[in-house]
């Protein structure tokens, strides 16, 4: 069960990893896209807001400039009217809520030979009451002050850098100075209006596109006119922090703004990434809107976090769900495993579970089922084959036993004859026989080879032997013996078994041999001088096939020291590994080397070993039967 769990888990894990990777890629792409999109949107929005703010400020600036412009010609016309000049300044302050101070300052010694003449009206800091005074004394040498001197040197209207007007309204102001020129274009005085910057400060701090965005406003000298951090206003310039931190981007931003450029730059604001959109104002100042990425990406980040959480949850569900499904789908496999185990243990009839789906699992089931049945059939067949083999084996064994029991081992001990025989049975064949009987001074012998094997062959051989013994003992001619034996064998022999035989009777006194051949191999006759020849007897027919077959006998006169070698085809057809056979020639060759002094025992064994050394260890496929009869 635990293996199964791992498979489902493993598969689910792969699915999970694959899904996670894909989803991660998609999420990253989506994030990047949405981040870029959001940033662009923020840019556009920031620019819009900046432009609106610029418009607001320009409106006020223009108002002041226009107000001053409007009274220019009036002042020009009434330049000698002291009282009027005072009134003009009062009017300017009274009618313009943004103008908190106004002056008409003259060149030293221009106005009625006074060194200083500068009527000045200002609105009080708290009470907003109008106060009119004379500017200019030894301690307030206005001709050398920026608001007078700079526009004079430039020859055109000038918005001063913001400063605290301690001597007047007590507020942060910027003075708009318009040079008064005579017909020759020579400057003889300044017409000024002080613009309070407090409202500007409030305006800019209230403008936010996002919670942490802020406006910064700088003058021509880089000093902050408005900033979120009030302590920086007028005290620090846009380069103050930048130079301290050696922040080249911030320096670049400052220089761009001071150069009156309009643009957008991305930078790092105290370790937080932000962008600033900036735009120049008509009076030489510059305004910028800083938008921290933190704010912009706030919702994007939130979205990503939510997405991530959902993703992780989803993947978890995917993992668990797919694991469960896989486990269910592959449960038949476990059952197959169990069934296979049961079958392997010997229960070949174990039932293989059914499968409902029509897929590979069904195929597996069918294969398993087929395999089970095949195994069963095979086993059944094996059992029957084994059984029949065993029967066969035992049959052969029985046959062998019968065969061996019929081979006489008491060889004659006579002075006039040496006889020895052996049968070396092959594994499967139980067909050869030999027999001999001493009847007085005659010796009656035979060698035979039964076709077929097993018990039937052995019985056949037994009948043949018995028949011979019985009929032979009757003293009948050998051909008659053979006929009768043949008839015995042919009777009821439906399997067409036959036995080739060579039977003979030697009268040891006369050394005359009667013999009858029934389809057997020609025997070897070794003359006293050692020369061997084959005795070509009439073949007649192997016994047991046709009843009443006319067997014919023959006769031959033998001599002393003549040796007869009888054998079966197990000798001549003995094969070595290359399938070449011992053959008749080799037998004859061996026979030429055997001398009459060798006992039949030795001769037989010698021939046997000769055959064996020829076959050189190859399997013996037929019985080897050898008989040696030496007439002494």
């Amino acid at each position: 069960m635990s293996i199964k769990k791992n498979f489902a888990s493993r598969l689910s894990l792969y699915v999970l990893l694959l899904s996670a990777s894909l989803l991660l890629v998609v999420t990253i792409l989506a994030t990047v896209f949405s981040a870029t999109f959001v940033l662009n949107e923020a840019n556009v929005r920031a620019e819009k807001v900046l432009d609106n703010t610029v418009l607001e400020i320009e409106k006020v600036i223009t108002e002041v400039e226009r107000a001053v412009d409007n009274v220019d010609w009036v002042v020009q016309r009434n330049v000698n009217d002291e009282q009027f000049l005072y009134t003009v300044t009062r009017e300017l302050v009274a009618t313009n809520p943004n103008i908190v101070g106004s002056a008409v300052a003259f060149e030293p010694y221009y106005f009625k030979n006074r060194k200083y003449f500068a009527p000045f009206t200002y609105s009080g800091d708290i009470s907003h009451e109008l106060h009119t005074v004379q500017l200019g004394n030894e301690h307030y040498d206005y001709p050398t002050l920026d608001w007078y001197q700079i526009p004079k040197l430039l020859g055109k209207p000038y918005w001063s850098e913001p400063y605290y007007d301690d001597g007047g309204s007590g507020q942060r102001i910027s003075t708009y100075s318009m040079p008064l020129k005579d017909e020759e274009g020579k400057i003889y005085g300044m017409l000024t209006a002080d613009l309070s910057l407090e409202w500007m400060s409030d305006l800019v701090t209230s403008i936010k596109t996002t919670p942490n965005s802020y406006i910064l406003l700088i003058g021509r000298n880089g000093a902050y006119i408005a900033h979120e951090k009030k302590e920086k206003v007028l005290n620090e310039t846009i380069f103050t922090s930048a130079l301290e931190m050696e922040d080249t981007t911030a320096i670049r931003i400052g220089k761009n703004m001071l150069a009156g450029e309009r643009g957008m730059i991305h930078f790092k604001n105290d370790d937080d990434k932000a962008f600033v959109v900036y735009s120049p104002l008509s009076n030489g100042w510059s305004i910028g809107l800083v938008c921290p990425y933190k704010d912009i990406y706030y919702y994007v980040n939130l979205l990503i976090i939510i997405l991530m959480v959902l993703l992780i949850l989803g993947l978890l569900v995917l993992f668990l769900g797919s694991r469960r499904i896989i486990r269910k789908q592959t449960s038949p496999i476990v059952e197959f495993g169990n069934a296979a185990m049961t079958i392997a243990k010997g229960n070949f009839n174990a039932s293989i579970p059914e499968v409902k789906t029509k897929d590979e699992i069904l195929q597996l089931r069918n294969s398993l089922d087929y395999m089970q049945r095949s195994i069963n059939e095979y086993i059944v067949e094996l059992k029957s084959t084994t059984a029949s083999n065993e029967r066969y084996e035992s049959e052969l064994n029985i046959g062998r036993e019968i065969q061996m029991s019929m081979l006489p081992q008491n060889f004659p001990q006579r002075g006039d004859c040496s006889l020895y025989a052996m049968v070396q049975p092959a594994k499967e064949v139980g067909g050869d026989l030999y027999d001999f009987v001493e009847v007085g001074d005659s010796i009656f012998f035979l060698v035979g080879d039964v076709s077929g094997k097993g018990v039937p062959a052995a019985l056949f051989m037994a009948i043949a032997r018995a028949a011979f013994r019985f009929i032979g003992a009757l003293g009948l001619p050998i051909s008659e013996v053979m006929c009768r034996v043949n008839n015995c064998l042919a009777d009821g022999n439906k399997n067409e078994m036959f036995v080739t035989m060579f039977a003979g009777r030697i009268d040891l006194k006369t050394r005359k041999m009667d013999y009858c051949n029934a389809g057997h191999n020609p025997i070897v006759v070794i003359a006293p001088d050692g020369k061997p020849t084959y005795l070509h007897a009439k073949p007649n027919l192997a016994a047991g096939l046709f009843a009443d077959f006319p067997y014919e006998e023959e006769q031959i006169q033998l001599e002393q020291d003549t040796r007869l070698i009888l054998y079966t085809d197990g000798v001549t057809e003995a094969e070595r590994e290359d399938k070449s056979q011992y053959g008749e020639d080799r037998l004859l060759e061996w026979a030429s080397k055997i001398n009459s002094s060798v006992t039949s025992n030795a001769a037989v064994l010698d021939l046997y070993s000769h055959v064996k050394s020829f076959t050189h260890g190859a399997d013996q496929n037929d019985d080897i039967t050898i008989m040696s009869i030496l007439l002494k």
């Binding site: 076709s451 077929g452 067409e496 096939l545 085809d569 057809e573 496929n621």
Partner: protein, 100 residues
């Protein structure tokens, strides 16, 4: 031993190739069963490539001969190799079976 049977009407031309010994005697028996049970009037066996036959084989041939004779048909063994024919001669089978 390979047994190839070609039928030409009522005549069977059989080609025998290889050895016939105790190991394949049963198989040979099976192979010639159609000839034994069949209705061929003439069976001609080409023994050109028959290498060897044991006494088991002789039995088979004898049985075939008997069944063929029983239904009045003819059996002929042709082109037998000399050493194989020798076996038939020695056993006297050449008198029983038609060997050409």
């Amino acid at each position: 031993m390979n047994v190839t049977i070609n039928e030409e009407g009522a005549k069977a031309l059989v080609k025998l190739e290889g050895r016939l010994d105790t190991t394949n005697a049963d198989q040979f028996m099976k192979d010639i069963t159609p000839l034994m049970n069949g209705a061929h009037q003439e069976i001609e066996m080409d023994c050109t490539d028959m290498e060897y036959t044991s006494s088991q084989g002789l039995r088979m041939f004898l049985m075939l001969q008997k069944s063929v004779s029983a239904r009045g048909a003819k059996l002929v063994l042709r082109n037998m190799k000399p050493h194989v024919k020798e076996v038939f001669d020695i056993t006297g089978f050449s008198h029983i079976i038609n060997i050409l």
